[in-house]
């Protein structure tokens, strides 16, 4: 057997491959120029790959850093770009966050999103008890609850819409909620 225990990590790694080891053992048994040349050639092939990987790994690393730097510079200079995240900064690296361009209003749309909403309050209720309770309210109370909880409009805005005072809206809303609560608990 030939001694193949080397300290040099390069030699060790090279001879870890069976093909190289066999060539080397063959050479040790019968040294000749042709085999020597072959081994040298193989070693070159082997070593140059290692060197190339380490060299290009650095290139990849710096290219990535440079790319991000340029990207940030660009975003800073062209603040009006619509590709940016709509939520300021935080969570911008998360996948699926919406960008500003997704919030642009479609001018040519014939139907607006609020129009698509069903304007009957009871269409939004799943719970049977709650449904029954809401049914027992009068039309006006239902309308106020619809505006307040489905469309998310403030009391003041509702009062302007219905031409009454804000206090009246607030009062009938609270009455309606109290009635619903009473009916559910009963």
């Amino acid at each position: 057997m030939v001694d193949t225990q080397f300290k040099n990590p390069l030699l060790k790694a090279f001879l870890d491959e069976l093909e190289h080891l066999e060539l080397y053992q063959q050479y040790c048994k019968s040294p000749n120029e042709w085999l020597k040349k072959l081994i040298d050639e193989r070693f070159m092939q082997f070593y140059i790959r290692i060197r190339a990987i380490s060299y290009f790994s650095k290139i990849i690393y710096f290219t990535a850093r440079h790319f991000d730097m340029e990207r940030r510079k660009y975003e800073k200079r062209y603040v009006l770009t619509l590709d940016g995240s709509s939520s300021d900064g935080n969570g911008s690296k998360k996948e699926g966050t919406s960008t500003l361009k997704e919030l642009i209003v479609d001018e040519s749309a014939t139907v607006h999103f609020p129009d698509k909403l069903n304007d009957e309050l009871n269409q939004y209720i799943q719970h049977p008890l709650l449904y029954k309770a809401v049914q027992s309210l009068n039309k006006r109370q239902q309308q106020i609850l619809f505006l307040a909880y489905v469309l998310n409009i403030s009391d003041t805005e509702i009062s302007k819409k219905l031409n009454v005072t804000q206090q009246a809206i607030s009062k009938s809303k609270n009455n309606a909620l109290a009635k619903v609560r009473r009916l559910i608990n009963a």
Partner: protein, 70 residues
């Protein structure tokens, strides 16, 4: 001086570097990843064209060195 392109084909080199590229892609926004990947591959191909290594020791030179140390 040894030009690398005589020893490694571009496809093989990119295949060898795949894991490293994948890893670096993770550090940027998902929407920029494709751009960065192209940028990196472009840089690798440019490097492959021009980069030359200094002298590389041969197998038997290293062997000699190892023997001397013992």
């Amino acid at each position: 001086m040894i030009p690398i392109k005589d020893y490694i084909s571009p496809l093989e080199l990119i295949e060898l570097l795949k894991p490293k590229i994948k890893k670096e892609l993770n550090q940027t926004d998902p929407k920029n990843r494709d751009d960065l990947e192209h940028e990196i591959i472009l840089k690798i191909l440019e490097g492959l064209k021009t980069k030359k290594f200094q002298r590389i020791p041969t197998f038997f030179e290293l062997l000699e060195k190892e023997r001397h140390q013992e």
